[in-house]
Symmetry: C2
Subunit: 254 residues, 2 copies
């Protein structure tokens, strides 16, 4: 398959590397920033372009991996291509593409990507959707080559998944950052808490989180809860978060 990748952010970068590792033929990488386009294109032996009018018109697959609010304008520039056009967004409807092009789909990798840390795609859940059976099977074949976790999901379920991902990834990461804030203000290093973070995540690989909750709130240990709240008295924002989440944990006791 001849593939054009439109985007050069975290998702696009990780996707480009995974496609390359699976011997897919990515022929072009587009980014409005020519340096970004070229540096990602160079990594995978593609051509880097920064003008949408330079996009090859006869590729088999166009992957739009840009910010959600830029998807539509990129899709408009692909009106005349005959290949399949997909986006990689968790929250964006497929209609934004199918109103512009004949063959439309979604190829949403449910993972948190950074440019610096390569992620093995083998275990990344790939959520796919398409506006036709043939298109869906093209995406299914590609996804199955890249990952053992392929899910056919409609837009509504994909949006639910994206919301759940905020709770399972973005919020926990922010809480790690708040833990580090507390530690560093008291001269303690983040290193000391890393094994705890690793074990907390590891525990739910084989258990449901509601069955392995620990800590003062689930024990209804009011003495520790009020000590902690008073330790946070000069950090009202953290105190509010502590109270909100502890109350929510206590609600599960009922």
């Amino acid at each position: 398959m001849k593939i054009v990748l439109l985007g050069s952010g975290n998702v696009a970068t990780n996707l480009a590397k995974a496609l390359k590792a699976n011997d897919e033929d990515v022929i072009q990488v587009y980014s409005p920033n020519v340096d970004h386009a070229k540096s990602l294109a160079d990594l995978i032996g593609a051509e880097g372009i920064n003008d949408l009018s330079d996009v090859e018109q006869d590729a088999d697959l166009y992957i739009i991996s840009v910010k959600d609010d830029a998807i539509e304008s990129v899709a408009k520039s692909l009106k005349n291509v005959t290949g399949l056009v997909v986006h990689t967004s968790g929250t964006t409807d497929i209609n934004i593409l199918s109103s512009q092009v004949k063959q439309a789909g979604v190829f949403y990798p449910l993972q948190t990507f950074s440019k610096d840390k390569e992620v093995s795609f083998e275990n990344v859940p790939l959520c796919i959707e398409a506006n036709g059976e043939i298109q869906l099977s093209v995406l299914k074949n590609l996804a199955a080559k890249m990952s053992s976790e392929v899910y056919g999901l409609n837009g509504e379920k994909r949006k639910v998944l994206h919301l759940a991902a905020v709770f399972a990834c973005n919020f926990p990461n922010h809480l790690y950052a708040l833990a580090n804030k507390i530690l560093s203000q008291n001269g303690l290093d983040f290193d000391i808490i890393r094994p705890l973070i690793a074990e907390t995540a590891d525990k739910v690989m084989s258990n449901l989180p509601e069955n392995v909750q620990t800590g003062p709130a689930i024990r209804a240990d009011e003495s520790t809860l009020s000590k902690h709240l008073s330790m946070l008295s000069d950090m009202p924002e953290l105190q509010n978060i502590y109270q909100t989440l502890s109350n929510s944990i206590k609600l599960t006791l009922k």
Copy 2:
């Protein structure tokens, strides 16, 4: 060293197994519940007792690993022992012991323990404190045999660490549970989100969390934030948590 373990909960159980694995001589396990005492004692070849007056008086080390509010009464029963008496609590002052016994200390493993899942102690940070240099070196030697991560911390720093652990462990686990609530209400399995949880934790093993934050809040993506809030309109508790944590993430942008 002859050791008496007082307690049979998650921490005591994991500690007992780790002591046994290091060929330490745990001679007795106490629990007010005789079945609990015996089943843990049997695991490690010790005597199970449920009466504090049966505690051997000439052991070298007494480890009190019971609920925080029960530590004092257990310590009182050890007034006449000559060995070193320690507790394993993150939040409890050493004075609760040193006011009762001559040799007192703290042996706090910073980890989340379940009875069913064995944790390798090698990477568990062991935080120690004692009321004398000799006592501290006894604990340091024991801890260094069990783990590569040994920290001498006073009570104030230990309490800070315990508070940070709530943010880094208890709260993230609850957010995993809320993610599962959202998924299951929409017929999606928790399995689909496990790789994301694993990667989110893995990412901060080599990065600081504040440098790898992702998601709509850190992008100030108001369109996605308001879509998510409206998806949670029939779950006001989750909506409140979403708003509180997103606001906190946005504060880091300033």
